[in-house]
Amino acid sequence: MASLSRIIFCIGALFLFHSGYSAVQHKSFLKLAEMDYSSLPIDITVECLLGSLLCCVAVLEGMSQYRDFRLTSELYSKKLDGVYNKQNFMIFNHRGSALSN
């Protein structure tokens, strides 16, 4: 899964880079032809948007796991054992030594 998202990310990044390069080239073409700049051609815009979309998808997919957004879900796994056991107040004169021998 991680390698697939990495490949998608690379494709998206290439798209982004290529659209930027085309935009620069388009501008220099306009300068040579002595035409006024109005807007970028539609294919460059689409390529740029597609590239950023692919990058977003890849980054979101590539992340390991989503965590529950509820505040309580982190405390779900807490057990009574952990809450009742207070390590700083531990005492040792109990049945533990008799049970383990």
Partner: protein, 294 residues
């Protein structure tokens, strides 16, 4: 809705490989469980055979091992691990505490008390050491003195939720439920999203067994269930509270309402156990839950 949680089995201390053992010890540290036998069984092998692989974690394991070994009465193991720590960190406060713990483990309480008071003279705000003094009084069975000492600590560090929790436990052991309830309220304030605090508070209120306290108990059992729906202990608590309130209250409407709550809890409990129990066991449970006939 609810499901029976996996019961944690603490006696499976079989050593498979050092990585799993290390991860088990880490998990025990993080969840603050008291699986001392497991810790000693795994920690021993880790320290004896794989201490070079653990890196810096070896010191944490040593510390964990000292406390766990004392907990099961293996003083020799505790001393050997303590020796390693003492050599490495001669001036550390945490290691000093361990030295006191070993005295406590040998039940030399007077010596330990003297030792702790010596540390406190140089460093009066060291709460960990003050907590050990409370623990010594508790170990000697002098709960009243332990409570006095603990309230002194809490006057200085009011946000210390471990101490509040301990104080609540001490009050409960003395049957002073009003005071215990106050401590548990502090705990709820410190983290209102923890279902265990609500459940524990509700349990104390239920034990007080007056109409008002039962109503408070019902509220907090319900909150605990809302925060964690698969919480059978709260579900059973709510059932018991509903039954008791049904008996306590005089008004007919209030009676019916509480009986409804008890009925609902009973159906939820039965539904939960249906998945994992056979018919006979279910029947026993049903008879157990049935409110006594009037």
């Amino acid at each position: 809705m609810a499901s029976i949680e996996e019961v944690h089995v603490s006696d499976d201390a079989e050593f498979t490989d050092w990585k799993t053992a290390r991860d088990t010890l880490r998990d025990i540290r993080e969840t603050e469980r008291r699986d001392s036998r497991v810790v000693v069984a795994l920690g021993k092998i880790l320290i004896d055979k794989y201490s070079n692989k653990l890196g810096d974690e070896v010191w944490t394991v040593h510390e964990q091992l000292v406390m766990a070994a004392l907990d099961i009465g293996d003083t020799r193991r505790a001393e050997s691990s303590f020796g390693c720590l003492k050599k490495r960190f001669s001036n550390s406060k945490r290691v000093k505490k361990l030295e006191g713990l070993i005295m406590e483990g040998k039940e030399d309480f007077d010596e330990a008390l003297e030792y702790y008071e010596g540390i406190l003279k140089d460093d009066p705000t060291n709460t960990i050491i003050s907590k050990r003094i409370v623990a010594i009084h508790k170990a000697r069975g002098d709960t009243a003195l332990a409570i006095t000492k603990l309230t002194e600590i809490l006057e200085i560090t009011m946000a210390d939720y471990e101490s509040w929790s301990e104080l609540a436990g001490l009050y409960i052991s003395q049957h002073q439920y009003d005071k215990a309830a106050f401590c548990l309220e502090e705990l709820i304030l410190s983290n209102p999203h923890n279902y265990i605090f609500h459940q524990r508070y509700a349990e104390v209120c239920y034990t007080q067994n007056t109409t008002e306290s039962l109503e408070i108990a019902r509220k907090h059992y319900a909150t605990s269930l809302k925060l964690k729906p698969s919480n059978l202990r709260s579900l059973y608590g709510l059932y018991q509270t509903g039954v008791s309130l049904g008996k306590h209250l005089k008004k007919k409407e209030a009676k019916v309402r509480n009986d409804d709550i008890a009925q609902w809890c009973m159906s939820q409990l039965l539904e939960t156990y249906q998945e994992n129990c056979n018919m006979e066991q279910l029947k026993v449970l049903e008879n157990f839950l049935k409110p006594p006939s009037k």
